[in-house]
Structure formats: C-alpha cells, structure tokens
C-alpha cells in the first residue's frame, strides 16, 4: 500500500533510550542560518550564504514528569517517527539525532482546569563538524 504523502501524529519518541509517551507535538528544525554581505554603496545584500546550520528539536508531552527529569546538558540519541497519514508503517519517517542531541531545557506548564504539558528543547552537534546530525529514514 502506497503512502499518502502526508503525515499525522508521532510514535516511538525516545531520548537517550528512554521512551517518551503522551506526546502531543514534536518539532525538528534544520536550523539553517544565512549571512548577508553588503559593502560600498550597497543598500541591499548582494550575497546571501548559508554558512552554518544549528539543528534543534523539541518534544511536548503530557508526561511532564519524564521530561522534567531530563537534566540540562544530557546528551543522547533523540528519535521520533512521524506516522503516515493512513498509518502505513513503511511510509512513516524516522527522524533521528544520533548521540548528539543535547537537552537544553524543559518547561512545565499547567493552567487551571487544563492538562499539564511540558516541552523539552534540544540542540544538536556534529561529531566531525561536517556531517549533518539530523537524519531521516523511511520507517
């Protein structure tokens, strides 16, 4: 069965081999950065270059206890599977930051009469300075 080409919900979300459940949102960010050059009488950039990328990720979950227990600075593998729109498992996308995801911070919020929710943010570094730490694979 062919995939739908659209994606819905997340599964198999893990950080440092610890599964994270009750996930309501996951974000992977390529972290692209641009620098512009202008000089002389230029009033607009004349060159725009992508020189650096700083991939990031975040996970939002109702399991605030698990996310709040991750110590900032902890490094590990972060992986999450973005499911195919109709649940065709082979057509889901597995996003991974292998070993190089560093937990930055977790915020826990809970408003009156609403479910509590925590968001953990991560940054990623490259093992060799050249290889993109963010990988994708078909599930």
């Amino acid at each position: 069965m062919a995939g739908t080409g659209v994606y819905l919900n997340w599964t198999a979300v893990e950080f440092a081999t610890s599964p994270i459940s009750k996930v309501t949102s996951v974000m992977f960010d390529q972290g692209g950065q641009l620098i512009e050059f202008a000089g002389d009488n230029d009033r607009y950039p004349v060159v725009i270059a992508n020189n650096m990328n700083s991939p990031k990720a975040s996970i939002t979950s109702g399991d605030v206890y698990t996310l709040m227990n991750i110590v900032p600075g902890t490094a590990g593998t972060l992986t999450a599977t973005q499911k195919d729109g109709l649940g065709v498992s082979m057509e889901s996308i597995v996003w991974t930051i292998t070993g190089n995801a560093v937990h930055e911070n977790t915020q826990d919020t809970g408003a009156f009469s609403q479910w509590a929710s925590a968001t953990a943010t991560f940054r990623a570094f490259s093992t060799d300075g050249a290889t993109n730490p963010l990988t994708s694979a078909l599930g």
Partner: protein, 118 residues
C-alpha cells in the same frame, strides 16, 4: 580505487536526483537508489539514513548506520581525515568505501558498545 565489495558503505547522492511531487515520492526515490546500492535488508531492521548536507550542488550523505560521519570524529586521532575512499559513478552518485583505519575504529567502537551492554 577499484571497489571489490558488492555494496558501498556510504553514498553521496545529488539532491537533484530526487523525483516526485511530494515529500513521500521524493524521499522514496532516494531511498530506492540508496537501499539497492548499500545492500539494505529491511527484514533485518536496516534502513538507509539520509542527511541533507547542502552545498552546491546540494548533496545527501546516506549510510546504513545512522551514527556514521563523513570524516573521522573530532575526538579521534584521525580527526578531519575522510572515513571513506570515494568512487564516482555515472549519474554523479559517489560511492564510499570505509578506509582500513575507519573500519578498525568502527570495530573497536562496536566492541566497546558490546562490552558496555554486558
């Protein structure tokens, strides 16, 4: 270099080889190429892990191990040295074969990981 292994250890695939009108088709078109050239066995849980490397032309670095890197890690005595001997092929896909030093480093790392799990 004349490759003797049936499958490459890594691939550099130009993003221009992607085909299709949506992410599913484009991802699939690259995965199809990569899995056949890397000898991916899905029944054993293997996958082709794709990294967008950018550049001009924009390239994709693809391997069976999601921890693989293009160069030796910064913590290695061989830091900055390529881990693969690259062979260009028609269609502009470059096939990479692990150097002897990279293979030894990889084996040592796997041994260390196996001992850590005992």
């Amino acid at each position: 270099m004349t490759p003797t292994a049936p499958y490459a250890d890594a691939l550099m695939i130009p993003e221009s080889l992607k085909q299709g009108s949506n992410i599913y088709e484009r991802h699939h078109s690259i995965t199809r190429i990569a899995e056949s050239l890397l000898g991916v066995d899905r029944s054993r849980g293997e996958r082709a892990y794709i990294r967008k490397q950018g550049g001009r032309p924009a390239m994709l670095f693809v391997t069976k191990d999601r921890a693989d890197t293009i160069y030796h890690p910064l913590k290695s005595p061989l830091q900055g040295h390529p881990r693969y001997a690259w062979v260009d092929h028609p269609g502009a896909i470059a096939r990479g074969y692990l150097t002897e030093a990279a293979r030894k480093e990889q084996d040592a790392q796997r041994d260390a990981e196996a001992k850590a799990h005992i």
